[in-house]
């Protein structure tokens, strides 16, 4: 049971406040904000209480999404609800930010009114909700020259128009109504990697959590068939044939997915509802089919001038045609490091010393597969001792691998039946993110 729901900006501005059960004081929002800001540590705990009012909150899009409830409520239900609410708001408003919430507050009140009645969650299915929601979303899209470049001469298809712009999926689902013809469907395979590499270069832990997400802008739903790799197998017992099987340890599906063709042909059938939904989730531990995307060869020594020399060689073991983007290596350095001088192997990299977080941050915008980058960092550390070397590392890498899945999962085909009238576009996108990629030194 939920008593109130409110959304605050990170600065504590009230964006949305809805009281479902009545009886709460007016200052409840400010009490929450005081509590949340008074907490020590960089991130506050999820549950806080004030007398017998319990606040459960999540952070998404830089906003606080808060529900107040009683002690006996299920934390899983409330957290899941808030996550779902944020996802719905994102679906309806296009993107999740303070600005979009502010502009669409009427729509969000309307949503909340339909989702929750008297503190009880009624429905969060976008199929049901679309019949009730009347307000149109307001979006602000900055004018961009890139939008024009997609249009070819006399409407001819250019190369660029075959690639979905990255902003394509950040628009409200309802705008498809008046845009009429433009019905699109996005199928995203998103994987998150958690890797720990020991100081001897051996892999200590590798986990992949993946999901197939469907984002549907079709006004009328039709059946969709998603074909996965034929050699896809679940668990260790089910290996088919030989060679590079695509294997996951555990796998679960959305309630709406019908699996009658899954066992024989690895086909998922579903009628996607409007908006975003996770169709399938899977995970794989320890046994990756492909090589790790990155390896680091560090050399760390002190020179006689009392400086710390870190020579880092980072190799990207992706296939040569693909590349990693937004690679960022965080290298913890000894406390009291004063200044950094650097020698980087190519100009598109950058590195800086962040004294608050006690780390050198090395950024590489684009890192092609099969190549190697190196950097030499010279750190001025006044109180350098041999023990300070222990403070260097472990290195954390964050990156994005477009068009690559770590498990090798691929979508063979994506069929809509019956065939949609009018032009419809189907997009399949793959991306692997780093959840936590740690290399010990």
């Amino acid at each position: 049971m939920i008593s109130q729901v409110f959304i605050l900006s990170s600065k504590g501005d009230h964006l949305i406040y809805k009281d479902f059960r009545g009886g709460a004081g007016n200052d409840i929002v400010s009490i929450f904000y005081e509590k949340v800001t008074a907490l020590t540590g960089d991130q506050p705990p999820v549950v806080m209480n004030h007398k017998d009012i319990y606040f459960v909150h999540i952070r998404q899009g830089g906003l606080y999404w808060v529900a107040t409830t009683t002690a006996g409520s299920s934390p899983f239900t409330i957290t899941e609800f808030l996550n779902r609410l944020a996802a719905l708001v994102k679906d309806y408003c296009g993107s999740l930010s303070e600005k979009s919430v502010q502009m669409n507050f009427a729509l969000i009140y309307e949503l909340l009114d339909e989702i929750v009645d008297y503190g009880y969650i009624q429905t969060t299915s976008s199929d049901v909700l679309k019949n009730f929601i009347q307000t149109e979303a307001v979006t602000s899209r900055p004018f961009s020259l890139f939008d024009l470049s997609n249009v070819g001469l006399f409407g001819a298809e250019t190369q660029q128009s075959k690639v979905a712009p990255s902003s394509a999926a950040t628009r409200p689902i309802q705008s498809s109504r008046e845009q009429g013809g433009k019905s699109e469907i996005f199928v995203d395979v998103i994987e998150r990697m958690t890797v720990v590499i020991g100081s001897n270069g051996l892999l200590m832990k590798a986990d992949v959590e993946g999901e197939i997400r469907v984002k549907c802008y079709m006004p009328s739903c039709s059946e969709m068939r998603i074909g996965l790799n034929e050699e896809f197998s679940i668990g260790k017992s089910q290996l088919r044939g030989y060679g590079a099987a695509v294997r996951v340890d555990e796998c679960s599906f959305h309630q709406a997915v019908r699996l009658d063709e899954f066992d024989s042909h690895r086909i998922l059938r579903l009628c996607p509802s409007q908006g975003e939904q996770t169709v399938m989730q899977y995970q794989l531990s320890d046994d990756l089919p492909s090589a790790l995307p990155f390896r680091l060869f560090p050399t760390i020594e002190r020179d006689n001038g009392g400086r710390l020399l870190m020579y880092m060689k980072l190799r990207c073991d992706l296939p040569p045609k693909s590349a990693a983007i937004n690679v960022c290596a965080t290298i913890p350095v000894p406390k009291g490091s004063v200044s950094l001088s650097q020698e980087l192997s190519s100009p598109d990299q950058s590195a800086e010393l962040k004294p608050q977080s006690r780390a050198v941050v090395w950024k590489i915008a684009r890192f092609a597969g099969g190549t190697q980058l190196s950097a030499l960092f010279k750190l001025e550390v006044p109180s350098l001792s041999s023990a300070s070397m222990l403070e260097v590392g472990p290195v954390g890498l964050s990156f994005e691998l477009p068009k690559i899945t770590a498990t090798g999962l691929q979508i063979r085909f994506l069929r809509l039946s019956p065939i949609q009238p009018g032009p419809s576009q189907r997009w399949v996108r793959y991306v692997t993110h780093s959840d936590s990629y740690t290399i010990r030194i």
Binding site: V46, V47, T69, A106, L390, P394, D435
Partner: protein, 774 residues
């Protein structure tokens, strides 16, 4: 320009709302109303516009209607009279052919929360229950609950309750679930909806139709059901099995709660359910939402209390990601400590070592104390890591390491050599109070083995004038006294200076009294002083039991899937989950407290109770049992026997050694007084000195002499361990015995019945054990 939220804004809005030109243009009218709502969300009081907004309500534009309702529901309670005007529009809307308009009107009619409107609302609500459209029925059902809560005392119409019961069979699953919710609220005083067999089976059969919110709600309500036969129970369980491994955490958690509550007297089933649920819980631990991760990790901690080895093979899932927030890292480390075994200890320690240099000091300190806890079972490896960390010479790390070492040494006295060697030189890096206190304690207790101890203390004594912390001064006094006992030549002079300062110049009463106490104690002679100050040492012959006994599922089943595991602090979870004697570690200012209690309990002896005495809610008992054969039992069998009756052993001396002792404890439910904290802690010591002249006797009394204690369980533990020897015993029957085992029990809070009961059980166990041996 008007200021945001000023009077001017409200006036401006009123002018716009009542402007006929605006009213005639639907788009402008709607935009003006939007502005009002926006101002309202920003926290500005716009209740003055109520009458204008009531007018705006009469429109065919659904969006505008919805907006106005948002406004009206927020301010209706401030304007009950004006709200009457809205009711007409709303009642008209309830007749609208469009079901959406009907449900909207009905919902907002009940959301106005005005008791005066009840009479107008009842009729549309009754009609709503029989509406063709499911969305109207959903609203109507909950509407009755809202109505009831406006007048909680009033009798609700039996016909309505019956109608709600019959709507449980409604074809729409949301209506069904809403009926459950409404009946729960309306019948709250009778203990909620009556869950009988037909209703249960109906709900279970329709569970698949509901969405995850409905499922969790139904499963929660069904927890009250008690199956009539075992067959029925198993039918229900097998029906629910697929929900137990649901990929949706809310459903999974609700199902497990239901499993645990209906199979509460079948522990095998509960354990099987825990095994089965560990997969989905682990998946939730890797969820993309960090809040969900946190909830899952907290619940895993609950599970581990009952099945310590449950997730052993999956320990790597609890390694922390470097970008994870500190609160998740801390919980994950707590789980890692629980999962340590011979195979994975190297990996886990390696991982934890990596966290010790974390930028976040909280994380670093949590990692260090986690290593310390593992050190109880794998002391060599852990000490090696801890000593290595001292080399970093960083104040927060050194402080955490010294505190951890202090705690470790108390449990594993065999570590003391390594610790003494490592301590050299770390006083220079220590900055914070807790770390320095820990160092002082160690210097005092192991002073004879740390060669530089007097010099370290001397520096501190010279600077005592500028010392701000009370705790440090107290600790310094005690440490210097202790050091004086083992190294008098080097310490005498500085002790004199310290005592002089504390007695003559110190303004704080506590420090002064403590110094006076020591001064007088020294007058009593060196032997007496030694007896008082050096009693406090853990017995190296005591082997601490590693591993925690599994607690019954019922102990935490009640709080599973509630907010309790998430909101209770990490500290609490910690002391709860470990049954070792040194909970003191996590006390806010452990050492100051300790020396307080120590000195106070001896004040009685020195100057006959002149200090203030507080009544403390605790009791102690001594009893002699004749069962000599117990001495020859192996520790394992003794432990097993005790655990059968829920008594946990803390530590014991090896077989055949004299004096032979066993320390044990138990939590029992209080027999009466439901309002008070309803568990009591009993600590016990079994002692056999081997002397034949023991008196058998029973002495029972309220321990009102235990002054100064703040009623902390943990203090009792240490006190019990230290100061049992010099208590007076009154013999009542004076019977001589050959070989008796003395049982000393200490209880808090006091509860005679429970204590008696416990004693009977304990004696029965001991007798059984000896008879087996014979």
């Amino acid at each position: 320009m008007p200021y945001l939220g000023g009077e001017e804004t409200v006036r401006e809005l009123r002018r716009a709302l009542s402007n006929p030109n605006v009213q005639s243009d639907p788009l402008r009218y709607r935009n003006t109303i939007l502005k009002v709502i926006r101002t309202m969300s920003q926290g500005v009081d716009v209740s003055g516009l109520f009458s204008e907004m009531v007018k705006a309500c009469a429109t065919v534009d659904v969006v505008q209607k919805k907006l106005v309702y948002v406004f009206l529901c927020s301010y209706a309670t401030l304007n009950p009279e004006l709200s009457l005007l809205v009711i007409n529009t709303l009642r008209k809307d309830c007749q609208d052919p469009n079901p959406m308009v009907r449900s909207l009107a009905l919902r907002n009619m009940t959301n106005l929360r005005l008791p005066s409107l009840v009479e107008y609302v009842e009729q549309p609500l009754t009609a709503g229950l029989r509406d063709r459209a499911a969305c109207v029925r959903r609203v109507a059902v909950l509407g009755w609950a809202k109505l009831h809560n406006l007048h909680p005392s009033s009798e609700i119409d039996a016909a309505v309750v019956n109608e709600l019961y019959s709507l449980l069979r409604d074809p729409d699953p949301v209506v069904m679930v809403n009926c459950l919710r409404a009946l729960e609220e309306i019948l709250k005083e009778e203990g909620g909806i009556a869950i009988n067999k037909p209703i249960t089976h109906h709900l279970l059969n329709r569970l698949k139709e509901c969405d995850i919110w409905g499922q969790s709600e139904v499963l929660r309500v069904l927890q009250r059901y008690r199956p009539q036969s075992e067959d029925e129970l198993f039918d229900i369980l097998s029906l629910l099995d697929s929900f137990l491994v649901s990929p949706h955490p809310p459903v999974m958690a609700a199902t497990l709660s239901l499993f645990l509550s209906i199979s509460s007297n079948l522990p095998v089933i509960s354990l099987a359910a825990l095994e089965r649920v560990s997969g989905p819980l682990l998946a939730a631990c890797g969820s993309g939402s960090r809040e969900m991760r946190f909830a899952a990790v907290c619940h895993i901690q609950l599970l581990l209390r009952s099945v310590p080895g449950l997730l052993g093979p999956h320990y790597k899932r609890f390694f922390c990601g470097y970008a994870e927030p500190a609160y998740i890292k801390e919980r994950k480390m707590q789980v890692l400590v629980e999962l340590v075994n011979d195979e994975n200890v190297a990996m886990i320690l390696d991982e934890l070592k990596g966290y010790c240099t974390d930028v976040n000091t909280d994380t670093a300190q949590a990692a260090i104390s986690a290593i310390g806890r593992i050190g109880r079972s794998y002391s060599d490896r852990c000490l090696q890591i801890l000593t290595g960390l001292l080399g970093l010479k960083q104040d927060h790390i050194t402080s955490a390491v010294v505190q951890t070492m202090r705690d470790l040494v108390w449990v594993c006295p065999q570590c003391s050599d390594t610790v003494c060697l490592a301590l050299d030189g770390c006083e220079e890096t220590l900055q914070d109070i807790q770390g320095r206190q820990a160092l002082l304690w160690l210097l005092g207790v192991y002073g004879e083995r740390i060669s530089t101890a007097p010099y370290t203390l001397e520096v501190l004594i010279d600077r005592v004038r500028s010392e701000a912390s009370l705790g440090i001064k107290m600790e310094l006094l005690t440490a210097t006294m202790r050091l004086f006992l083992c190294r008098p030549a080097e310490t005498q002079d500085m002790l004199g200076r310290l005592l002089h300062y504390c007695i003559e110049e110190e303004t704080d009463m506590c420090v002064r009294d403590q110094a006076l106490l020591y001064y007088r104690l020294l007058h009593c002679g060196i032997e007496k002083t030694r007896e008082v100050l050096q009693g406090r040492r853990s017995d190296p012959s005591l082997g601490v039991l590693i591993g925690r006994p599994a607690k019954p599922v019922s102990q935490w089943a009640r709080c599973f899937n509630t907010l309790e595991p998430l909101s209770q602090g990490a500290v609490e979870a910690e002391s709860d989950s470990r049954g070792s004697p040194e909970h003191v570690t996590y006390n806010s200012k452990p050492n100051a407290d300790l020396s307080d209690t120590l000195s106070c309990s001896h004040i009685e002896e020195v100057h006959s109770g002149a200090e203030k005495i507080e009544e403390v809610d605790c009791a102690w008992i001594e009893e002699c049992v004749r069962c000599p054969a117990v001495l020859h039992c192996s520790p394992q069998s003794l432990q097993a026997a005790m655990q059968l009756v829920n008594i946990q052993t803390l530590a014991f001396t090896p077989q055949q050694m004299l004096p032979w002792r066993v320390y044990l404890y138990t939590h029992t439910q209080r027999s009466h007084s439901m309002d008070a904290p309803n568990t009591t802690l009993i600590l016990g010591e079994l002692l056999c000195t081997g002397e034949a002249n023991q008196k058998s006797g029973v002495k029972k009394g309220t321990a009102d002499s235990e002054a100064g204690a703040e009623g902390k369980e943990d203090q009792l533990v240490r006190k019990e361990m230290d100061a049992t020897a010099d208590r007076l015993r009154v013999s009542e029957d004076g019977q001589e015995e050959e070989e008796g085992i003395k049982v000393i029990l200490n209880q808090q809070p006091k509860d005679d019945d429970a204590l008696r009961q416990f004693l009977t059980i304990l004696i029965t166990v001991l007798n059984t054990l000896s008879s087996e041996k014979d």
